[in-house]
């Protein structure tokens, strides 16, 4: 690397690290220095190794990988030979035309089509057809070339247009009929094979095709991203494409993908939380030294305080009652809270859980009968009897029934968690229940997955309930939920 090249690389890296920090990744000074050192040693031409080397210096938590990778692709996608097609001596545009002609000669000689076309002259149907062949053969070079060609032809990208990448992706894929691709491939494979394949073979084949289609789609996305970055610059694109860290994903607006990454993040998180709490308990097992008691006991050692006595340790573990709205928009929040609570249920002397929409049902037994929290949650979603009239949240009615049926079980050792957005569909609030509850319980808390600024707007009446509780907490994401639960245990 020449001195100027090196300076250029360091500038690029500086911008890159800045974006990582803006996305919430805690890059320290040492780590930044390591990254600067790393890029001196690993050539960007070895792109994957380069990417992992940077990641190794900058992120120390696997849950941060997606966020890292997205920004990496934005910053470094225009660098290196990736942008040119002839990496590893693979097909270039010219070779591709050649290839296409060969394929036509070989497979379709005699079907009347004049075989002389270049890629640019192909109709969308022909491109789709060519794509299907390359997918079936797993021809990486051709797939990559077609991805570029497809974006160029179908995405309709115009410089300066303020349209997001998903729009271009949609247009490109629609023109290729990628949705119908899997079925067509399976059909073609079935026709080609001599003996009918078994279910196992079919399953494996479908998975292989799905995998290739996903790879192709990623290639199309990468091409779109490269063009957007070229048009608008890395910094602007990093801002638009930024993916939140799993712990910052909002429960109420998570996409399917994000839900999955959330679910993945939950397990290590609960494990660590449990370990942390267990350690906390262990260290706090002893209260402060009880001077009087120590002296009293020292008499049996002839006045030598040989056996220190400690004051009674921390108060007994609380009994927990979770009462959760599981209607549509807050269902995911309820699910994650229940999972988290049960994962650390050892921290409580007892955990009982109730779910409601406009009717309420106890689901404690689902969690007792299995080790598998996911399975219990599944039963909560499918078996609990939570609909009373119309299946729209009615906090007032649910609370009233709760109080009537289980109120006697709430006592001075009980901590009650009320979960939901308190959007009551303009039903009666029956806030008196919460007031009475707070009178007998040790603590009552309300956890709300909505941003604070939405509280008490529209049909949200969280304030009406909240004023009787020991606190209303905003729990929009895993980070906030975790910090609340940690305080609680």
């Amino acid at each position: 690397m020449s001195a100027t090249e090196q300076r250029g690389m360091l500038d690029l890296l500086g911008g890159f690290v800045g974006q990582l920090r803006e996305a919430g990744l805690p890059v320290s000074l040492t780590e930044n220095l390591d990254a600067m050192e790393a890029v001196r040693h690993i050539p960007i031409e070895d792109r994957e190794a380069f990417k992992y080397a940077l990641a190794a210096s900058l992120i120390k938590n696997q849950a941060h990988w997606r966020t890292f990778e997205t920004i990496f692709e934005v910053y470094f996608s225009l660098r290196g030979p990736e942008y040119a097609l002839d990496r590893d001596g693979e097909a270039t545009e010219g070779d591709l035309d050649e290839l296409w002609r060969e394929m036509q000669d070989a497979s379709q000689s005699g079907d009347g089509r004049g075989g002389a076309g270049s890629l640019d002259a192909l109709t969308p149907e022909e491109i789709a057809h060519l794509l299907m062949q390359s997918l079936m053969q797993g021809d990486q070079a051709l797939m990559r070339a077609l991805a570029r060609q497809a974006v160029q032809r179908f995405a309709g990208m115009e410089p300066g247009r303020p349209v997001g990448g998903t729009y271009y992706l949609y247009r490109t894929l629609r023109n290729l009929d990628l949705d119908g691709m899997l079925d067509k491939m399976m059909e073609a494979a079935a026709q080609q094979s001599v003996a009918p394949s078994t279910t196992l073979e079919q399953r494996l084949e479908r998975e292989e095709f799905e995998h290739r289609i996903a790879e192709f789609k990623a290639e199309v996305e990468a091409e779109i991203r490269r063009r957007l970055v070229a048009d608008r610059g890395a910094e602007a694109m990093a801002k638009t494409l930024r993916k939140p860290l799993p712990e910052d994903v909002e429960f109420m607006h998570a996409s399917r993908d994000e839900m999955q990454s959330l679910r993945k993040a939950l397990q290590p998180l609960t494990r660590k939380l449990a370990a942390r709490l267990a350690r906390k308990r262990k260290h706090q097992r002893r209260g402060p030294l009880d001077f009087r008691s120590t002296v009293r006991h020292s008499l049996s050692y002839g006045g030598v305080p040989a056996e220190p006595k400690f004051k009674f340790p921390r108060p007994a573990k609380p009994e927990l009652m979770v009462v959760a709205d599981i209607s549509g928009s807050v269902a995911a929040f309820a699910r994650f809270t229940l999972m988290l609570v049960y994962a650390i249920s050892g921290q409580f002397s007892k955990v009982r859980s109730f779910v409601f929409i406009d009717g309420i049902d106890e689901v404690t037994d689902y969690f007792k009968s299995t080790e598998d929290i996911t399975e219990a949650i599944h039963r909560v979603n499918t078996e609990a009897d939570v609909v009373w009239v119309d299946g729209h949240s009615d906090y007032g009615h649910a609370f009233e029934v709760f109080w009537e049926r289980y109120g006697k079980d709430v006592g001075p050792k009980t901590t009650v968690l009320l979960l939901g957005d308190a959007r009551n569909n303009y039903h009666a609030s029956q806030a008196w229940v919460v007031k009475e509850m707070a009178g007998v319980a040790r603590h009552v808390y309300w956890l709300n997955p909505e941003p604070r600024s939405y509280w008490n707007t529209g049909d949200s009446i969280v304030g009406e309930y909240g004023r009787h509780t020991d606190g209303v907490y905003e729990c929009r994401n895993l980070r906030q939920l975790e910090s609340f639960v940690e305080k609680l245990a």
Binding site: S28, T30, E31, D34, E37, A38, H41, I42, D46, E48, A49, F50, K51, Y52, A53, A55, A56, S57, I59, K60, N61, Q62, W65, T198, T199, L200, R203, L204, E207, E208, H211, P268, R271, K272, A275, R276, R279, D372, T374
Partner: protein, 299 residues
Amino acid sequence: MAGSVGLMASEQVQRFESVQMVRDGLRDLDYLADDGIAGVAYLADRLGKPVLVEGPAGTGKTQLAKSIAELTGARLVRLQCYEGLDESKALFEWNYKKQLLRIQADRGSDSWTELHDDIFSDEFLLTRPLLEAITADDPVVLLIDEVDRVEVETEALLLEILSDYQVSIPELGTIEAKQIPLVFLTSNNTRELSEALKRRCLYLHVDYPSMEREREIVLAKVPDITENLADQIARVVRSIRSMDLKKAPSVSETLDWARTLMLLNIETIDEEIAKETLHILLKYQTDIAKAAKELSVDE
């Protein structure tokens, strides 16, 4: 031992010429690295930094350190971590028994000062893996295995040594490293390691391998297996890993399965065989039932 000179990373001999060399070298030793693994191992050498390797069980974390040692012609010094591991097992300990014997043997003769200097010398020092690694004369690779099992206090001790590459022993003074070895720490992520330790290390996440890499691993590790069978194995395992299971099969389980199939003289995996041997890949009864159903082999 004392008085040796600490080396800066930059003064050290570089062990690898390029990332490609690491990749190829490991492959020759039947360890199939991906770009991440090879890149980070190379970088660790260049920057003189330890690598923290994290990932699910049985994905080749420990083997990586072993193979790198072999590749560089270094001796592997391994510190196996467990709950309760402390300084005396990780770093050094005085050999009390031997010291007592010497004191008794010498009773009444030498002066105390002389005796004291004598019993607190190298001869009575039990060198544990950490001290051994940094004071070795020959090249070593230090493997600190399953570091997530130790207590926070022991972690602090590790951090100190990995930062300064020196150890102070009250009776002997400061012992400086003769070399900065390649260091690998592995973790199954059962608890959060301290930020300080993570900052000190390069981080490598080793996940289940891609289908292609797993096939290569099977081919490399199972003698006489055909390409065709290795390919089928890798595909079925990928399929099973995509299911929602309590515990997905690890690479070691894939290898066990492959060896079993070889013993049974099997050339093609059909549904019947898959069903009968699922218990080698999966450990939980519920997982086995689920997988059997999804592969639709339990009609």
